[in-house]
Amino acid sequence: MSRIKDWLAESHDLAFAILLAMIVYGYFAVTNEFFATHRTTFAIMERFAVLGLVGLALTLCIIAGEIDLSIGSNAALSAVIVVRFTDSLGAETALLIAVGVATLIGVIQGYFIAYLRIRAIVLTVGTLMLLRGVALFVAQEKTVMLTDFTIPDFIATKVLGYFSPASLLVVAMFVVVGLFMTFTRYGREIYAIGGARKEALAAGINLQRPMIIVFAISGFCAGLGGCIIGLRSGTAQALGLQYLLLAGTVAAFIGGVSILGGRGGVVGAAIGTLTVNFLNTGLVFNVTPAFMVQLYLGVLLMIVIMFQTGSRMFDDHQRRRQILSDVDGRRDQLLRRRAAALHSGQGGGGPGAG
């Protein structure tokens, strides 16, 4: 029992995320008889394959104190690349090229952010547009399509009950990144530059390495996610996938990252993504139009932000009160000591000015 209490006190964000996920799932499971079934679970895992990658990428970026706005464009670019070149080069080569390009874009972004010492939002809002242009260029302003549908069929095959090859790959990705973030020095450097950048730099961390790693992972995830979407549906549009940023950000914030950086983790990202997926799938089951999903996601994000801002203001308030009371206590102590000294010295010294 006390162990549970300790865990709750230590990671209340995660507890909140799990609670929220359970509430959302429970709500839809009760109101819709088709929701809590094996088939729906498979469908949710299929969604998890894409959104999970984006949520993971954004979680890492926010842990590092930055945000990657270009993630949707990057995903759209690799979707276009993989769909366009699968017919001529084969799926494996096209996949390699697409994910490689996306990762390379991430590395370049990370390098420039660290080299120019600018905020990531500044650069990524530019690359958002740039990559859309590149994607339009690659797709020649058309919707690209596959002609051979063996790959989409392979990706959507069921293995191990609830999984497909795509979602298995993504789960493996979560495990690897989670281990990396927790147990390696590079992973902890990412937490360090997010939570306390000045202190981390003063302690000798080279800003470039963690920044490049974060954005490389972000690019890789975006690229892989784009490839999965593109190959699964067999089509890709250069201007598509804009919704990924909002959904991924909501997932990351539900998962307990702090906008100030340095907090959150891969488990939170997974739970946050699942929550968003429950919401998405449940709303689709209840025949809600797509724009309403966006509305709900927006409201959810605003609520989480309000919650975080409120708790931060409360923390600040508490800390200030703590400091003030410490100062008061110290002053009282000093005054008392002086009074005692004066008393024992029989008023020999002059009274100090207040």
Partner: protein, 341 residues
């Protein structure tokens, strides 16, 4: 004699370039030079580019994005980065305006109604930002909210109102041979620049943007400032929505998403305009004049590419390159001149 003069000029030019290279970095000089060469080449070779009519077209194209960018510049200057909800605010407002117009309330009431909605939208975002929320994330959420509300309100349909209506003068009218939207753009640009330069509020924007701690210490909290600048940005979006709706006599939430202009996303175009103008995204440095010029500049390049017969892909690419280019150049120029945040 002449030979010596030429070599003198040559040497002086070399010295000038040398000084530039030392003052800025070699990369900046090379980038700017390469850009100028491409720009001038395109300008000279584009057919019908250097005509008065084309110049008017450029400014008219720049007007709508420019007005939004002027509004956003206040947010950027005050150190609150940018709002990702510009086009969604406009989408909500265009629905509000068209609904009101189609119900027959007339232009003044519809206009005021739209502005009131923009005021609310701006105040809500400003409040959350001022209380310490990250502007990007808050406005990302607000964007989803506004877009959803707009779609829900209009049932995701195109609303239209009949042609002889009270807003036609704003949408399609013209004065002295200039479209009214262009005139509105120029007037708003002048008013915004005057506000920033000569009023207390304008100076406060710069102060809080340049140094938030100093602003706080002198009693200028970011809370009220964030609310004010967000309202300005939202009202500018709403004005653009009204002008655009008056032009086409209809409204749909997607007008600002994909069909608008050449380059896809209106929000990103607006942010691009602010950046290409050379405003510091960290706040405190820049002006609305820069944003207006940025809008005209992007519009010029776009116009040139249209005249050369480029498709939308290369044009979006060009705008993207311009943003990234301006980010890199301005970051290199300002390197070391400001304390790093």
């Amino acid at each position: 004699m002449t030979g010596r003069t030429i070599s003198g000029v040559h040497n002086r030019a070399l010295a000038l370039i040398d000084r530039w290279v030392q003052k800025y970095s070699a990369l900046v000089v090379v980038l700017v030079a390469a850009f100028l060469v491409v720009f001038i080449y395109g300008m000279v070779t584009a057919p019908n580019f250097l005509t008065v009519f084309n110049f008017k077209t450029i400014i008219r194209d720049a007007a709508l994005v420019g007005i939004m960018a002027i509004g956003l510049t206040f947010v950027t200057l005050s150190g609150n980065f940018f709002l990702l909800s510009m086009k969604e605010t406009a989408a909500l407002c265009i629905i509000a305006f068209a609904t009101s117009m189609s119900l027959g309330y007339g232009f003044p009431i519809s206009f005021l109604f739209t502005m009131a909605i923009a005021l609310l939208a701006g105040a809500m975002q400003g409040l959350l930002i001022g209380l310490g929320g990250n502007p990007i994330v808050v406005t990302l959420g607000a964007a989803g909210l506004f877009f959803g509300l707009g779609s829900w309100w209009s049932d995701n349909l195109v609303l239209s109102f009949r042609r002889p209506h009270g807003a036609e003068w704003l949408g399609t009218g013209s004065l002295f041979g200039l479209p009214n939207i262009t005139i509105a753009f120029i007037l708003i640009a002048i008013a915004a620049e005057m506000t920033l330069r000569y009023t207390t509020f304008g100076r406060q924007v710069y102060l809080i943007g340049a140094n938030r701690a100093a602003g706080k210490a002198t009693g200028h909290e970011n809370l009220s400032m964030a609310i004010k600048v967000c309202i300005i940005a939202s009202v500018c979006s709403a004005f653009v929505a009204v002008a655009f709706s008056a032009q086409v006599s209809s409204a749909h939430v997607n007008y600002f998403s994909s069909e608008f202009g050449s380059s896809g996303d209106m929000t990103i175009m607006v942010i691009a305009t602010v950046m290409v103008g050379g405003n510091s995204i960290m706040g405190g440095f820049g002006s609305t004049l820069r944003s207006s010029l940025g809008a005209i500049f992007i519009s010029t390049v776009d116009n040139m590419m249209v005249l050369h017969g480029f498709n939308s892909g290369p044009r979006v690419l060009a705008v993207g390159l311009m943003i990234v280019f301006s980010i890199i150049v301005f970051a290199l120029l300002r390197r070391g001149s400001r304390a790093l945040e």
